[in-house]
Subunit: 369 residues, 2 copies
Amino acid sequence: MVDMGTPPQSGPADLIPAARGPAESTAADVPSLDTMTRPAMTDVGRFAGVSHMTVSRVLNGAASVRPETRARVLAAIERLGYRRNITARALATGRSQTLGVVTIDTTLYGPASTLYGIERAARAEGYFVSIVSLRSIDRASIREAVGRLVDQRVDGVILVVPLVSAADALKGLAHDIPLVAVEGDLRADIPVVTVDQVDGARKATEHLLALGHRTVWHVAGPTDWTESHGRLRGWRDTLAKAGADVPPPLSGDWSALSGYEAGRRLSRMPDVTAVFVANDQMALGLLRALSEHGRGVPSDISVVGFDDIPEAAFFSPPLTTVRQNFGLVGRNGLRLMIEQLDTGMASTMRVVIESRLVPRQSSAAARSQ
Amino acid sequence: MVDMGTPPQSGPADLIPAARGPAESTAADVPSLDTMTRPAMTDVGRFAGVSHMTVSRVLNGAASVRPETRARVLAAIERLGYRRNITARALATGRSQTLGVVTIDTTLYGPASTLYGIERAARAEGYFVSIVSLRSIDRASIREAVGRLVDQRVDGVILVVPLVSAADALKGLAHDIPLVAVEGDLRADIPVVTVDQVDGARKATEHLLALGHRTVWHVAGPTDWTESHGRLRGWRDTLAKAGADVPPPLSGDWSALSGYEAGRRLSRMPDVTAVFVANDQMALGLLRALSEHGRGVPSDISVVGFDDIPEAAFFSPPLTTVRQNFGLVGRNGLRLMIEQLDTGMASTMRVVIESRLVPRQSSAAARSQ
DNA sequence: CGGGATCGCGTGAACGCTAACATTTCGAGA
DNA sequence: TCTCGAAATGTTAGCGTTCACGCGATCCCG
């Protein structure tokens, strides 16, 4: 147990000159850089003739480091190809600079675009993005997904889960981590950013009514999706307000196939002259069904969709639809997250994004009867 | 240095009874669980009357821990709601249980589906997935994306970047981390899993030739995409082999709009009777253009697409196309990654997935002239 | 010219885990 | 009953950061 004053250079792996004072080491001094394992702050410090703490200060842009030493450290970092270990940093600080995104089927245009917007915005803010997609849409699955992310020590979780049941699942969730719901239920008790579905549906329905149609039929989305609810309500309210009949809504599962099936049923009803379909894929299927049954669009029936996917302008005929700016939604979701992270306070803010009607050739004036 | 037999309970933050021997603590013994900060292994150990190391052993399923103590530890974990800190684990082991995915525009159907397949498979294997999308498609951007992921200490990187330039960008990349290319260039020097584009294009072209068309025109994808090259080659070779003329290929950017523009040009050429379009979106635009110019499909012109997106069956007319199983591609990409991770050896394996022609109504026999 | 504030930097201890080794326990055979 | 070795558990030292200090050197002002 006797310390004999062993010099500090006694550590193993002493492959870097412990040059103190003005660095006068030339390239020749430095042994085989490339055989080194990833250098740590200590290595950089030794190379620059300072302590690891000074390296940390330089890296974090802390004040009170002499320009001269800063330059020396920076040079060492450059020379050694040092890259900070964010795992260690995360352990020490308790912050991982990573955001979790829980998402339902990223194959769908909406969620995929939203995710894309989130990822780009997150990167701009210096955050990594870790994703987990839901295996099913029940409450347990949502909680498990969030749990996984929490285990991974993400700094916050953004939910792209536009399900009514999601709001409930979140209710019970421990709020020890910032959450944001995107395209979610406004009744949730966490911040939400979403497109105004009710208003979008109103625009679509009013557009058709303004064209002279007596009433407007509706093909709704799956019942547990918040979008379905909003669009259904917007449609119904608008009809009611206009004093028009409210026909029984059909419903699909967002797929073109389900729209096709709805179209088959509608094509048999002679008094149908206008249909508002809850998304563009279903509208595509509906167009197909109408065409197969010899019902002309827009000559016999006008059709309006929702989303404005990039293909909508090339349907036959080009689809009148309601555009949602998914990228903007994603970016706003991230903004809300950053705000919570920066202020350290849970917010319950709501951001509502406007939608926009894009008139194309699938809707036209009703034939005077 | 004299040990006076201080009982082991001397540590700070002794909020849990250090009951040794058979745990006889009742619920009343345990002070305010909910006010606790996240418990660590030490806390669990103290609660169970063992050392933190035993907790670690239980958690890692290590052998040699008595069933009785294991049960006690498990109970403590349950009771305290302990969750292992994977950040600390990552720091200690050097493995993060996280895989990085570099992807181009996740808004596109192909990459999105592939990503989805990867994520699900990764989760099944116990890996997290961290994504970064490319801001642009140049070499520097790819390297930066991989660099970000490496900084994040992912265990491996899967690239969903089907660009020719990607292969080059990877060439120089340090191989100190397992890589897998999905939908990538077979010439890359890392493992690749991809759909056989050449063969798929061959199937499409042969299908049209078999229907009696003299030759087949082609609308190719962007030049820097590997898919474009494969499909172009498959098309050209098949025509050449059949002794058919090889007309100059048009090209688009995968978008329906670019397909529309190609369609406008083709519709003015009276001798065009068959077109193979490099993806379904462009085919949609092409169908639209042909329809606008009064060219019937398939009566005047037969059209075959590529991908078989879910909407293709509902185009007007329903599109004959070549189906790619993106999910399978993603899963195989992950499998290759896991193999590298498990064996610890860099592989250069190639997995080629078959495609399948899906005949629908957009292609028909050529009119006898 | 002296004394306290400030600057610039270093030291040691976390963070929560695993790896390697040390130590205790326990059962079986002599 | 003692011994020995394997089984079961504990101890210590990292992993690479950051945080909270501490301590000389420098500076300013009376």
